[in-house]
Amino acid sequence: MTVADVLLLALGALAVGSGALVVTSSHLVRAGLYLVVSLGAIAGLYLVLGAELVAWVQILVYVGAVVVLLLFAVMLTRAPIGPSAGLDRPAFPAVLIGGGAGLGLAVLFADAFRWVRYPEPEPGTAERVGEQIFGAWVLPFEVLSILLLSALVGAIVLSRPDIGARRSTPEQPDPDQANPDPATAGGEVKA
């Protein structure tokens, strides 16, 4: 047991424990905050494993953006402060499938990798990751930028009722407005 092993064990126990609380807590806000703890522990695991840039991106994107977005959604859907009733389905099939998947994969990994020591990785700097991304993986990187743009446009179209929800207004049957030009649709918005 080296220092790295002790760190991996501690952070892994923290990640799994708070992950279990995420999926069992009956407070919506507490589930989001336990998710912060779990994702932070996983970022610590990345640091121990030598993936420094991935760890900081995890902190920035997940803890900084995704969890904040989830907590905003919890707030916007008027979640109660206290424990909420009726959050869960019956446990039996979920325990069977989830436990089967988790424990089965764990046994598979434990059997495949055993208790073998691997050499410590050299710290992965941003320079190495940058060479990888812009050398071998340029095309997927650019495709991801298109994906982000389309996700942005899709989220805007979904959440704007004046361009997204035409079908729910039968009192205004105007087939010309079914797919309005974004410029004219923007002109119709009342401030």
Binding site: D5, L8, L9, V16, G19, V22, V23, L28, A31, L35, S38, L39, I42, L45, Y46, L49, A51, L53, V54, Q58, V61, V66, L69, L70, A73, L76, T77, S84, L87, D88, R89, A91, A94, I97, G98, A101, G102, L105, F109, A110, F113, W115, R117, Y118, P121, R128, Q132, F134, G135, A136, L139, F141, A151, A155, L158, S159, P161, A165, S168, T169
Partner: protein, 137 residues
């Protein structure tokens, strides 16, 4: 270091995510469980980068890639890609959830009717008019 520890942690987190997706009825909690599953896969990718030193060997390099760039370290790059995908997924997913909440005042996935158009009595009393205000249906 013993790489079996992060591998087993990743497997257990994935199992917890599957359990959460199947158990939870609230759509936002389902999204949180999906985040747990994505993080488990990321952890396994980064760990595979340490233990297997995965690299492209014996594969003709693509025309758009710089020659000699297929060094080990691909797992971290894939983890970054998965993080970007997760950010896009949670953005669109929460847009859908919030729009559904504005239409039906509910985030319970069991009550989503896939065969109706949102006008059934009881649940869909309210709907949005063109200005984003709710009108009685």
């Amino acid at each position: 270091m013993h790489v079996v520890i992060p591998y087993v942690v990743g497997a257990l987190l994935f199992g917890l995510g599957v359990y959460g997706v199947l158990r939870r009825r609230n759509a936002i909690l389902v999204l949180m469980a999906v985040e747990l599953m994505l993080n488990a896969v990321n952890l396994i990718l980064v760990t595979a980068d340490v233990s297997l030193r995965s690299a492209l060997t014996g594969v003709a390099i693509e025309a758009w890639a710089r020659p000699g760039a297929a060094a080990p370290g691909t797992g971290g790059v894939f983890a970054l890609f998965v993080i970007v995908l997760a950010a896009a997924e949670v953005g669109v997913g929460l847009a859908i959830v919030l729009q559904y909440y504005r239409m039906r005042r509910a985030v319970i996935t069991d009550e989503v009717r896939l065969d109706a158009d949102g006008e059934e009595p009881g649940i869909g009393r309210e709907r949005l008019d063109a200005d984003g205000e709710r009108v009685a249906g």
